[in-house]
Amino acid sequence: AAEKPVVGFSQIGAESAWRTANTDSIKGEAAKRGITLKFADAQQKQENQIKALRSFIAQDVDVIAFSPVVETGWEPVLREIKKAGIPVILTDRAVKVSDPSLYVTFVGSDFVEEGRRAGKWLVEKTKGQAVIAELVGTPGSAPAIDRKKGFEEAIAGQAGMKIIKSQSGDFTRAKGKEVMETFLKSPEGKSINVLYAHNDDMALGAIQAIEEAGLKPGTDIVIVSIDGVKGAFEAMVAGKLNCTVECNPLIGAQLFDLVADVVAGKTLPKRIAVEEGIYDQSQAAAALPSRQY
């Protein structure tokens, strides 16, 4: 196939700045390489995503890539794609299937590892002494489950660290703020000195709630969150956020390298990690200008 491959990509939606950056990275890279990209947005619904995947078959694309909304429920459609002879690359989130040959490879972050890193950083920072409030992501979503799991793993050994409040903030600023408000006003609220948020947006909402309560975010309450969006860096520069664990959305280049490899018939590892860092206040100012999203 000397011609450029046609790629079908199904995105989850545009629920956050992170996701938008992810989309832009993929679209931009496709345009740069002159690859025809069939893009479909699933508006956070698995059923829409399955429809898109099946449409890709009908459109006879060469490679299918997608970020699954949830982990399960992909067997039938993946089997159909396999029958049609189209290779599949997963991005960002993994799927659970009984037959690993249903997809070629998965490129994306390891949510459990992100949680673990946030936990480890906190153990170091607080020397194992912390009363923690946790803002959980959308109930049932893979990042929420895994980031919780990783974090709990990391602080498991520390007798001085315990999570006294844990509540879903739906990955949004508004809910993050609203939930933090009630955390702070609960009788135990006064003792909270650490906030762990599953994403930056919730942390940014919570920062406002903390300020409105007359406390200093970043000082009175240490805040660690995940994603590494621009807003988080600005908050760190302002001293209101302590640490963000990067979850890199800019996978466009990596993805299309893989597409090229797949089309060329190379064998690929099942799991390909994305390059990610962890940033605290000391690195924030330096990193801020180079943040794209």
Binding site: T20, Q46, E47, N48, K51, T72, P139
Partner: protein, 325 residues
């Protein structure tokens, strides 16, 4: 008096108008996009929207009776999780499916009974039902859960589907959709229950005075709605081989929209079940068009879906208005 020839099937107009627009839309897609006219797209249209169609038939019955059912999406999600979890615990699939259907019917009956016995507004009761079913789904299992059982893997998706070519088969779910629509249409048109539902929706006070059994009709219609929602959930498990408590949020609105686009009046009393199928197909076709277009980002997708919906509704309205003159 020979005024008899006046506008014989005026009520059928909106359905015919919808059908016309559906065909127009499809033809437009075929002209614009390569492969759009392929058989696979047509089959997908039925297979992909089967769960919605099945649930929408139930929703149509409820709307015809003058009520509304907001619990559809939550019940579909709940039954999916229930089946997945039961099978996960080693129960035979048929038993799990049976239990799920029974639950759906019972849940509907309960809502119907509340609505009838205590004269409560259906909107509130079924909204309560929606919250309850959604919460219960998370109680059953807080995350999505896949179904690993040969019945699902082999039987449903291989044995029961009808191959058209080497790479293409008509999925079982498509047949399920058509069967439910036919059965629903027959029930609405040829059974006493169906006619009672329409009478109830058109004028409850008159229906009572005419001796229609209001109570049992109401309870039954919500039972049917719940049952078909659950059946929609079962079809969805065939489709995805998994259950997810967070899925199908807002499906009830799609179901209602499908019914209304298909010519059912939201106030009740007027509508056709086959119209609902047309409505479902139109919603599906709009999505397919957007996917084939292939460059729209999230917001343009939304705007395009809304815009197509608008164009379509105006077209339908203009065609259907003719008859009113």
């Amino acid at each position: 008096m020979n005024l008899a020839k006046f506008r014989p099937s005026a009520r059928l107009w909106p359905v015919l108008a919808s059908l016309g627009v559906l065909i127009l839309l499809y033809a437009g897609g075929c002209l614009l996009f390569e492969n759009f006219g392929s058989l696979r797209v047509l089959i997908n249209l039925f297979g992909d929207n089967a769960f919605l169609g099945v649930a929408a038939v139930g929703a149509t019955f409820v709307i015809l009776s003058g009520g509304i059912d907001l619990s559809v999406g939550a019940v579909v999600a709940f039954t999916g999780v229930l089946i997945a979890s039961l099978i996960g615990h080693g129960q035979p699939p048929l038993l799990a499916i049976g239990l799920a259907l029974g639950f759906g019917a019972g849940f509907g009956a309960l809502m119907g009974a509340l609505i009838h016995l205590y004269a409560l507004p259906p909107f509130l009761v079924t909204l309560g039902g929606m919250f309850l079913a959604r919460g219960l789904a998370f109680v059953v299992h807080p995350e999505s859960l896949s179904i690993d059982h040969p019945f699902y893997g082999e039987f449903i998706s291989q044995t029961l589907s009808v191959p058209v070519s080497r790479r293409l088969a008509i999925p079982f779910t498509a047949f399920a959709l058509i069967a439910v629509v036919l059965a629903g249409a027959a029930l609405a048109r040829w059974s006493r229950f169906g006619r009672n539902v329409l009478a109830l929706g058109s004028s409850e006070s008159s229906a009572r005075l005419m001796g229609v059994p209001i109570g049992s009709t109401k309870i039954l219609v919500y039972t049917l709605g719940g049952f078909l929602s659950a059946l929609g959930g079962v079809v969805a498990t065939f489709y995805m081989q998994s259950g997810n408590p967070a899925s199908f949020v807002g499906l009830e609105l799609d179901a209602i929209a499908a019914a209304v686009i298909g010519g059912t009046l939201l106030r009740g009393g007027v509508g056709y079940i086959p119209g609902t199928l047309v409505g479902v197909l139109i919603l599906g076709l709009i999505q397919t068009l957007v996917i084939f277009q292939g460059t729209l980002n999230s917001w343009w997708t939304r705007i395009a879906v809304g815009g197509l919906l608008f164009v379509f509704i105006v077209l339908q309205q203009l065609t259907a208005r003719r008859r009113v003159g």
